[in-house]
């Protein structure tokens, strides 16, 4: 998943740069009589728009690490989530567009360089995704959480 340049010597540093996403759900808490957001696990399949290879293939996750394109400023991902509908289990798809700038970061002689991104906007369809919240727009090797996806209650 790492995007970077190759280097002849051994690199001991973390070179992974990915857009870190968490799935959230909002539920009504009767005890506090308020809506509370909490992290949730969902069965997800994810691939980049126009790419065949899957980043996540029907796995239950509460978050994702999405590689943004280093040679383009728009990265689009198709996110399929398992949902129950009238007693059946169906896959509901959403597309997430991330608009970003790219910047070359030189890490070391051994490791070469990494491409870090600055997110300018996030757009999505609203089938399973209710809304998104941008937490941190800088996507680099130290990123922990960049985006929260609030999924619909089904």
């Amino acid at each position: 998943m790492a995007t970077g340049c190759t280097s002849p010597n051994e690199c001991l540093q973390n070179m992974d740069v990915a857009y870190k996403v968490k799935f959230m759900k909002v539920a009504y808490d009767q005890g506090s009589e308020s809506y509370v957001a909490s992290q949730v696990s969902v069965v997800t399949s994810v691939h980049g728009l126009g790419r065949d290879s899957m980043l996540y293939d029907s796995v239950q996750v509460n978050g994702m690490a999405l590689p943004l394109q280093s040679n383009d400023t728009i990265s689009a991902f198709v996110i399929c989530q398992q949902a129950a509908s009238y007693g059946d289990t169906v896959m509901v798809s959403d597309t997430l567009w991330v608009i970003h700038d790219n910047e070359l970061e030189f890490v070391s002689v051994e490791c070469g360089c990494a491409v870090q991104n600055k997110v300018r906007d996030v757009i999505h369809t609203v089938n399973m995704i209710d809304s998104v919240a941008r937490v941190a727009d800088m996507v680099d090797r130290k990123s922990i959480e960049n985006l929260k996806i609030y999924v619909r209650n089904r």
Binding site: C5, T6, P8, R51, S70, N71, S75, V109, V115
Partner: protein, 244 residues
Amino acid sequence: MKRVMTIFTLCLLCITLNAQRDSVIVREKKHNPNYELPVVHGFSVNADVLSPVMNLVHGRVYGGECHIDLNLFNRVFPTVEVGYADAVQNLGMDVTYKTHAPYVRVGLNYGLLKPFTKSGEHRSLDCYPYVGLRYAMAFMNYDIQNLVIEDKYWGTKDVKNFTNPSVYSGWMEVVAGVRMNLARGFTLGWAFRFRALLHTTAEDKVFVHYVPGYGKSDGSAFTFNYTIGYTFSIDGRKPVEKKY
């Protein structure tokens, strides 16, 4: 009349005291004119002839440096060393590291031979050992060229150059060497240097793979200089003849 006598007596007393004080101050000093040499004896210009050769051995590095020092009291030598280096290092897989920058070292040498003998005579300093300290700085640009950006998931590959416009690097050097007068002001010198890279404005020291005037940032801490130069004497004294 009584008042006049009192004033006269006081004046006499003052004159007597003054005379006594003068007799204390004016004492014949043991004087040796050799101790009164001028502060500045001259200055030297030296070119490092070994570094350019060694640079070519360690990779494609072109450049040179010259040293200028001032002779104070025949003992202390404030020194400025200036140089320039143009280096290209191959990091493998066609990745190259390029840098070119001037560098400056400032500091002083301290002569280990006393300039006077015990009897106060001027000592010939045709060959003297010294120790010294330098602070060195390089204002460098560096380029890392032919970096291949490979995006494994999106299946793209691109070759880019990483250019850093300006980085400051500073380091300390401890010097121990010998300077020898050959003839008519021409000098030879050689010196060992221990150096330590102290700081750089780059995000990390590993970014400055090669520092002009310092060498590889992860290279040996020891280096050697061999210099040829000329000393301009400005104290007006004739060189002291060697006594055998």
